[in-house]
Symmetry: C2
Subunit: 190 residues, 2 copies
DNA sequence: TCGATACGAAACGGTAGCGTATCGAAAGTG
DNA sequence: CACTTTCGATACGCTACCGTTTCGTATCGA
């Protein structure tokens, strides 16, 4: 009954939200700007989402899920380098604006905060589960809680470098991260 | 010549800025709110600071410099526990709102970003220099770059836990941080 | 005492976004 | 075709804050 909603409107709205979120940050993101960039009227947006927090949560949930590279290399060090390098690129190029924008937004909006943490946990799990299962399956001798340690340390150090230090995560840094921090901690013997 | 500026106004303005910054975040911080809470007129604020970025930079610079506890315990592990615990408390109770608020603000304001990084580096140095000099002086066998590693990892992991995971940095976590991450990395032999 | 400056209070015009309402046209369903 | 809902466009009143100006008063130095 009645005219059905246009799915392309949803896509346009959510992608406009993501790009604006990256550019401007959560606080400065306005529904009006989303309407402008997406080509949708404000009415169309308010019909779907109650307010900004609702819209942003939907947009972050919608964004293409991060899919880390499956470990194709031979050794553990090479796999770690690939995984950490991918993570660094992901954070630096795509996520940092989004993450940084959301850090502040989460504080004023507990509902958004909980949603964000749910999504971050999901991505973190997807990032560590399969690669480490693979590495362990290949007979690498890792610490029992290697996956948890990786997920706890690698994103933290990368984000700290990008946001606080303001320095790039180039290849040298990734090697430093793997050789000086991750490998010593994750290898069984230590 | 003429009436000199009242230093108590400065204090009131900067402290109001800091508390509001922690509560609301950078974007939502308004000069009017600072005027309201500090009891100063907007005129008085604009006479001192050109705009919000200028005010915030001054406030962050003013805030009482973090002074870590001098290592009073006996062993390296105890000193690390004290230092990491103090850092966790500092971040969780005071800084996190401020840091989180500034992450977003830094993006839109390169001037503020550079000032913030300068201040963060200063505090980081103050935090690591003396305690590690003391520990090394006590004859502990540390990795050459122990201080750098500590400054690179500890704040990053703590911030990640508080902001991303949204879980508290209780005593159990600090012990985990020291025993499972810091000690294995900082000890010379590994 | 006098001149200069700081101070609080208030008002100003301007900008921006909020969330709502109304309208006619479009696009489905039965 | 009749009905229902969506969509774009536009206007609305509202709120908040901006950065500036004006005014009367307070407080210093010379």
């Amino acid at each position: 009954m009645g005219r059905p909603r246009d799915a392309r409107r949803d896509v346009a709205i959510l992608e406009a939200t993501l790009s604006l979120l990256t550019e401007l940050g959560y606080e400065q993101l306005s529904i009006e700007a989303v309407a402008g960039r997406s080509g949708a009227a404000k009415t169309t947006i308010y019909r779907r989402y109650r307010d900004k927090a609702d819209l942003v949560a939907a947009a972050v949930d919608y964004r293409s899920h991060a899919t880390p590279p499956s470990p194709a290399a031979v050794g553990l060090r090479e796999n770690l380098l690939a995984l950490a390098g991918w993570l660094a690129r992901e954070i630096a190029e795509q996520e940092i604006g989004l993450l940084g924008a959301l850090f502040a937004g989460m504080r004023g909006d507990p509902r958004l905060a909980e949603e964000m943490r749910r999504i971050l946990r999901r991505d973190e799990a997807a990032m560590t589960d399969e690669p480490f299962r693979k590495a362990i399956g290949d007979g690498e001798r890792l610490t029992p809680r290697a996956a948890e340690l990786f997920a706890e340390i690698a994103p933290a150090v990368i984000v700290h470098r990008v946001v606080v230090a303001g320095e790039p995560c180039d290849e040298r840094f990734v090697e430093h991260l793997v050789d000086d921090i991750l490998l010593p901690l994750l290898l069984e013997g230590r």
